[in-house]
Symmetry: C2
Subunit: 364 residues, 2 copies
């Protein structure tokens, strides 16, 4: 059988630095565990624009469609702020999500014991927190038409369209219910059904799928504004949260920040199962490209390493290997190894990106 | 000269209970300070639907247009969850906002010293916090057309439209800059210009108004997801935040929750100045109708009382009277008077809604 294939798109900013540490682990898996991947690399985002005038070439897009999993670093940076909307770095990422049809974005917000003091929230509010936000990733206001800036009378008008079909809602709801069954069996769905008709449809369809297919899962509904509040007040009330693309963007970033572990959080974006049974999949850290620290060796590679662990679990059915990587990360943290972003007020000497990667390797 | 006029729309749930305490203060102002208001009362939300089959009658709408200020309690409740979208309690409130053209919604997120321990955030993160979110309130995805649930092929599709004109953005930007000049002269504008064209227009117009009319104010831009993060991480970095209707809904609720003072926070929704120089205006607490505690005497009336204080300041140019009310509230809190929502884990005996109102009156 052919080796499982991975396309690495390290992207911009700290992307290449954190991805370098993942490559070490991929190398280790081949050398020490006899698990080999066919790894190719390519460009996405600002670096692709610099090389080709587009944030994602058709050739790269085609490669992404063929591999078993894409690992992405991060895209964007101030250098590209003035670019036309159509070639901004983000368009590369959005094209990947859309054309690979990665509708289910799993964003765990997990508080690492060793870092509970690190949150701006009180320790008892976040210690032991372990929730997952399932964000719809291929529709909604990110992709709806009509969109653009138009002229009406003597002024400009900016338009975007929030648009959800029943089947788009149904499939992401299913993926949330499936996930909940493997966890604490609770799903909270968030929308603004009190204000938006698309929210009414969202609520209705989630409820229907629940009643017909997942009556054993505990389902609740919350308006997204109340959800944002409750995430700040007592996040442990949640298990799995399912929500749309835009609300998911805000709520998952917020939830990640709550844990105090932003540089630590991975994500998986999953599509439909392919002929070989594997879902189309892209894995990326929740953090951004952090242009302010790019090139300084300060970046924390753990989110990217844990994204690779998610790939092992969700794309390659290597749950044990995934756990091995996750346990190594936990050990390194428990040992007090810290990159600059994890330094508390008590100080200490931070390790570099590459030293952190080496520490994880050693723990493996 | 005629007395200034106020229309009270107490609404549903705890609305009437908290408004009763405001009426005591209005009474006190007449009796003790010789300041008289012409007060009328009417229905909005679920109670209006129960009485008239609509959450806001045309007659009430007309009255709201005529008075100097509307004081609103809260709308909504589970009893009305199954109502058709067009007659839901929220539609009454949204109609008021839209037809009165209340485009600038000021939502202070302030942490009261006596309550700093009360937040789920660490004390040093929130103590002394005093920021204002200026939320656009009459446009965006709340009102854009087309909207609704349609059938396409064999499935339903939910659609809403995010739509902003240049002049809509310009006027709310101005109101944020004006406010910043009276505070710490800093505005942060939030959108998703990396994903939405309406966000690009938002950013451009805010920048233009700044450069032309308010170059003295410090302006920054942030993506709304990063904004949500930063509000959790270090909210004191902000002074005035300006954002659209939907982001403002989530971000202001979240910011309110951060302070630990949700039952304490007022809001003002302001429109254009009228012939008499007063802006169209509606004042309401940030909290909702809290149907679970309605009728139990547990509700905290302070947000509603402070909303009345905002009315004194913004509608009636009675800044000193407003400060008097605010100081009375601070004194009551410093004295340890607490409604049930403000009880810490150390316990104690909470006062009722009406006892809290009386305490504020006594402090006046
Ligand atoms: C980079 C950007 C397009 C993206 C988004 O808005 O989805 C990011 O914020 C994310 O959450 O993955
Ligand atoms: C009640 C509801 C329509 C309203 C809104 O979404 O604007 C509320 O959440 C608010 O923030 O005032």
């Amino acid at each position: 059988m052919a080796n499982p294939s991975i396309l690495i798109l390290a992207g911009d900013g700290i992307g290449p630095e954190v991805m370098a540490e993942v490559k070490k682990i991929i190398g280790w898996m081949g050398a020490k565990r006899g698990i080999h991947f066919d790894v190719s690399e390519d460009l996405v985002g600002g670096c692709a624009y610099d090389a080709h005038g587009t944030p994602l070439t058709d050739a790269t897009m085609a490669k992404a469609q063929e591999v078993d999993a894409v690992l992405l670093g991060a895209v964007g940076g101030p250098k590209y702020d003035k670019l036309d909307f159509s070639v901004k770095p983000e368009r590369g990422l959005l094209r990947l999500r859309k054309e690979m049809d990665l509708f289910s974005n799993l964003r765990p917000a997990q508080c690492f014991d060793a870092l509970a003091d690190f949150s701006s929230l009180k320790k008892d509010v976040v210690a032991g927190l372990d929730i997952v936000i399932v964000r719809e990733l291929t529709s909604g206001v990110y992709f709806g038409e009509p969109r653009g800036i138009f002229t009406e009378g003597n002024e400009r008008v900016g338009i975007n369209t929030q648009r959800y079909t029943e089947s788009e809602i149904a499939r992401v709801a299913r993926s949330a219910f499936e996930l909940a069954r493997k966890r604490n069996n609770k799903v909270c769905s968030m929308e603004k059904a009190n204000v938006m008709e698309s929210g009414i449809l969202w609520r209705d369809v989630v409820q229907e799928i629940h009643d017909k297919e997942y009556p054993d899962v505990q389902l609740s509904h919350m308006y997204a504004d109340a959800g944002a509040m409750q995430l700040c007040r007592w996040p442990k009330q949640f298990d799995v949260i399912v929500t749309d693309n835009l609300f998911g963007d805000l709520l998952s970033d917020m939830a990640a920040m709550l844990t105090g572990s932003l540089g630590m959080l991975p994500s998986a974006s999953l599509g439909l199962p392919q002929a070989n049974g594997r879902p189309k999949a892209l894995y990326e850290p929740v953090h951004g490209s952090a242009p302010d620290i790019a090139g300084t060796g300060k970046a924390n590679p753990i989110a990217c390493i844990l994204s690779f662990a998610m790939a092992l679990r969700y794309s390659f059915d290597m749950g044990e290997e995934a756990t091995r990587v996750e346990k190594a990360v936990e050990k390194v943290l428990a040992d007090g190894v810290r990159t600059a972003d994890l330094m508390g007020p008590e100080g200490g000497t931070p390790v570099s990106t590459s030293q952190m990667g080496d520490a994880v390797l050693a723990a493996l």
